[in-house]
C-alpha cells in the first residue's frame, strides 16, 4: 500500500540554525507513529512543517500522493489532515457547543453562507452532539470554554481536531500538563480511534508514547537519530544516552 504521508529530505533553517535537518520518513495508513526527543530536538518545528505553519527551506512532503509542501494550512485540512495544539488552542469566549460547531463547519460546505443562523443549523448541531458525546462534554455544552477545567479543555482540544474526520491525525503533546490518570484516559482514547485514522504523535510522556506507538522515531538536534518498534527503542543505546544523560553531549532531559 502507498504511504499516507511521505516526507523526504525536509529541512528548515532559522538564520544559521538548522532546526530540522534532512528528515525522511513515511507513515502507512492506519499506523501509529510517535515522535520522541528531548527539549529542543525540533519536534514541534517538524510538526509545524508538516501542518504548513512553517515553510521548509528544502525537501518535500507528500500526502496521499499529492505534493503539499507549499500548500497553506487550511488546504491540508481539507485534504484530510488534522492537528491538535500543544498549548490548548480553543475559542475561549464561546460555549463548548459553539466550539464544536465552528470546528465541524471547517471542512463542510456552507462555510461562507451569510444568511443562515449558524447556531440553529440542524445538521451541524446533531454532528456536534455526536462529537461532544464522544468526548464526554455534551453535558457541558452551554458552558463558556474559559470556565472549563484544564483536563476538559485538553479533551475538547482533541475533539476539535477530530471534527474534520481526518485520515491523518497529528497530535502535539496531547497529554501536556495532565495528571497521570488523565493522561491514561487520553491514551485510551487514541487507542480506540480505530484504524481508519492514522496517528502521528509527538510526546514527552513516555507512558503515553509506549502506550500508543507501533513505531517510534527519535529526533535529536533536528535529525532522526533512530527509529524502531517500542521494544527496539527501549533497548536502544542512543535513546538511553539521550534520556538518561549517560554521556556528556546530551544534557537535555526527557
Amino acid at each position: 500500500m502507498a504511504a499516507l504521508l511521505e516526507v523526504s529530505g525536509l529541512s528548515v533553517h532559522f538564520g544559521g540554525l538548522a532546526a530540522v535537518k534532512d528528515v525522511t520518513f513515511s507513515i502507512e495508513p492506519g499506523e501509529r507513529l510517535v515522535m520522541i526527543g528531548p527539549n529542543g530536538a525540533g519536534k514541534t518545528t517538524l510538526f509545524n512543517l508538516l501542518t504548513g505553519q512553517l515553510k521548509p527551506s528544502g525537501g518535500k512532503v507528500l500526502f496521499k500522493g499529492q505534493d503539499i509542501t507549499h500548500k497553506p494550512v487550511y488546504a491540508r485540512t481539507q485534504l484530510g489532515m488534522a492537528r491538535s495544539f500543544q498549548i490548548t488552542s480553543l475559542f475561549p469566549n464561546e460555549t463548548v457547543l459553539t466550539n464544536a460547531l465552528i470546528a465541524l463547519q471547517g471542512t463542510r460546505g456552507g462555510r461562507y453562507r451569510m444568511f443562515g443562523v449558524f447556531t440553529r443549523d440542524k445538521v451541524l448541531r446533531s454532528a456536534a452532539q455526536e462529537l461532544l458525546e464522544s468526548i464526554d462534554l455534551w453535558d457541558k455544552r452551554s458552558e463558556t470554554v474559559s470556565s472549563l477545567a484544564y483536563g476538559e479543555t485538553r479533551k475538547l482540544e482533541m475533539g476539535l481536531s477530530l471534527a474534520s474526520s481526518p485520515d491523518l491525525l497529528m497530535l502535539d503533546e496531547p497529554s501536556c500538563g495532565l495528571t497521570p490518570t488523565e493522561s491514561k484516559d487520553i491514551t485510551e482514547r487514541i487507542n480506540t480511534l480505530g484504524k481508519k485514522i492514522t496517528v502521528l504523535m509527538i510526546s514527552h510522556d513516555m507512558d503515553l508514547a509506549f502506550g500508543v506507538a507501533e513505531r517510534i522515531i527519535l529526533l535529536h538536534f533536528g535529525e532522526i537519530s533512530c527509529e524502531g518498534t517500542c521494544d527496539e527503542i527501549r533497548a536502544n543505546q542512543t535513546v538511553k544516552d539521550i534520556y538518561m544523560g549517560s554521556h556528556k553531549a546530551s544534557t537535555a532531559g526527557g
Binding site: 494550512v73 488552542s89 464561546e94 471547517g106 462555510r111 443562515g116
Partner: protein, 355 residues
C-alpha cells in the same frame, strides 16, 4: 476583568461579557424570537412616530445619529466580530459620500437607487483593492498586534484625503464638494429634510438587519473564530485570509452606504470626512457603545452625535477636548462599553439574572 487602554487600542476587547443565552425549545421559539426582537421593534415604531412630536432640528439630529449608527455597526463587523481594528474606516465613509456627490454633480445620475447601488459597488471595489496590501501586513493571528495594519489603513485614509484635495476639478479641493441635492427616488415623491428622515430610517434599518444576519450566519461565526484564534481556524480548514478580506470589503461597503446617506444629509463632503478626524469619531462610537454587543455602536452613535450637537451649540471650539475627555473616562470606567452595561441591565430586568 481589567483592561488596559493599550488593549483597547489594539482591539483586544474582551468578548467575555455576552455568552449566548440557551437556545429555547422549539415550541416557544416564536415567543423567544418575539421577545428578542421586541426592543428593536419598539425603537423602530418610536422612530417612525418621532417626527410628529419633535421640532425639525431634533429630527435632523436623529437622522445624523442613524447614519452614524450604520457607520459604527459597519466598522464593528471588522472590529467586534473579526477582531480587526482599523484606523481607516472613515476612508470608506468619505469615499462613499464623494462617489455619491460626484455621480450626481458630475455624472448626472439623479436617481437615488442607481446611485446607492453604484456607491456600494465602487466602495466594495475600493475595499477589494486596499484589502490586498492591508492584509499582507496583517499576517496571521494579528489581533494581538495589528499595529502595522492600523498604520496601513490610516495611511489609506490620509492618501484619499490628499487625493480629494488635489483633484480639485472633481472633488472641489479642500473646500469640499458642495451642492449635493436631496435624493430623487424616481417615484415622483420629492424628498426634503422631513421625508429624508424616513428614507434614512428605512435604509439604515435594512442595512442593520442584513449585517445582523451576516454576523450570526456561518460566515459570521467563522469571523468570530478568527477573532479568538486564527491559527486554530486555519487548522480546522478555514481559509482565514479570505474571510478577513471579504469582511473588510463588506464593512467598507456598508461604511460607503453610510457615507452616501451622509452626503445627501449635509449636502457637502469635505476631504476630512475620509481622514483621521472621522475615524476618531467612529472609533469613539464603537468603544463607547461596546464592540462586543451588536447594537453597541448604535448606542455609541446616539451618545457621540448627541454630545457633538450639544457641544457645537454651547462651546464649538471645545469639541475635541470633550471628545478626548469622553474617551479617557470610558476607557477608565466602562472599558466594556455602554452597550454591555445596558444589556446586563436588560437581562436583570427581564430575565432575572445578569448573564
Amino acid at each position: 476583568m481589567a483592561t488596559r487602554p493599550v488593549d483597547l487600542l489594539l482591539g483586544r476587547l474582551m468578548r467575555k461579557a455576552v455568552a449566548a443565552p440557551p437556545v429555547a425549545a422549539e415550541g416557544s421559539r416564536a415567543l423567544a424570537l418575539f421577545k428578542a426582537w421586541l426592543p428593536a421593534l419598539v425603537i423602530l415604531l418610536l422612530l417612525l412616530v418621532l417626527p410628529s412630536f419633535v421640532p425639525s432640528y431634533i429630527q435632523s439630529l436623529v437622522t445624523k445619529m442613524m447614519i452614524f449608527a450604520l457607520f459604527g455597526v459597519s466598522m464593528n463587523i471588522l472590529w467586534g466580530y473579526g477582531g480587526i481594528p482599523t484606523f481607516g474606516h472613515a476612508a470608506f465613509f468619505g469615499f462613499g459620500g464623494y462617489v455619491c456627490g460626484i455621480l450626481i454633480i458630475h455624472g448626472g445620475i439623479a436617481n437615488f437607487w442607481v446611485n446607492l447601488v453604484l456607491v456600494m459597488v465602487i466602495t466594495a471595489l475600493l475595499g477589494a483593492g486596499l484589502g490586498i496590501p492591508a492584509f499582507r501586513v496583517y499576517g496571521v493571528g494579528a489581533s494581538d498586534n495589528p499595529i502595522y495594519f492600523l498604520l496601513v489603513t490610516l495611511a489609506f485614509g490620509e492618501l484619499l484625503v490628499r487625493v480629494a484635495i488635489s483633484a480639485r476639478s472633481l472633488t472641489g479641493g479642500s473646500t469640499g464638494l458642495s451642492g449635493i441635492p436631496y435624493p430623487d427616488l424616481g417615484i415622483g415623491v420629492s424628498i426634503n429634510s422631513y421625508s429624508y428622515y424616513f428614507l434614512v430610517l428605512g435604509i439604515v434599518a435594512v442595512c442593520l438587519l442584513v449585517i445582523y444576519r451576516i454576523v450570526n450566519s456561518h460566515y459570521g461565526y467563522a469571523l468570530r473564530g478568527i477573532h479568538d484564534n486564527e491559527r486554530r481556524m486555519q487548522a480546522l480548514g478555514f481559509n482565514t485570509w479570505l474571510y478577513k478580506y471579504t469582511s473588510y470589503i463588506i464593512a467598507g461597503m456598508f461604511g460607503g452606504v453610510a457615507g452616501c446617506l451622509f452626503a445627501y444629509f449635509g449636502g457637502t463632503m469635505v476631504p476630512n470626512n475620509m481622514g483621521m478626524a472621522m475615524t476618531d469619531i467612529v472609533f469613539l462610537i464603537v468603544i463607547l457603545g461596546s464592540a462586543s454587543v451588536y447594537f453597541g455602536p448604535v448606542i455609541g452613535a446616539v451618545i457621540v452625535v448627541g454630545v457633538d450637537y450639544l457641544a457645537s451649540m454651547y462651546m464649538p471650539e471645545r469639541w475635541p477636548l470633550i471628545m478626548a475627555a469622553i474617551i479617557v473616562v470610558v476607557i477608565m470606567f466602562i472599558p466594556q462599553g455602554v452597550g454591555v452595561l445596558l444589556l446586563d441591565l436588560w437581562r436583570k430586568v427581564f430575565h432575572g439574572s445578569a448573564a
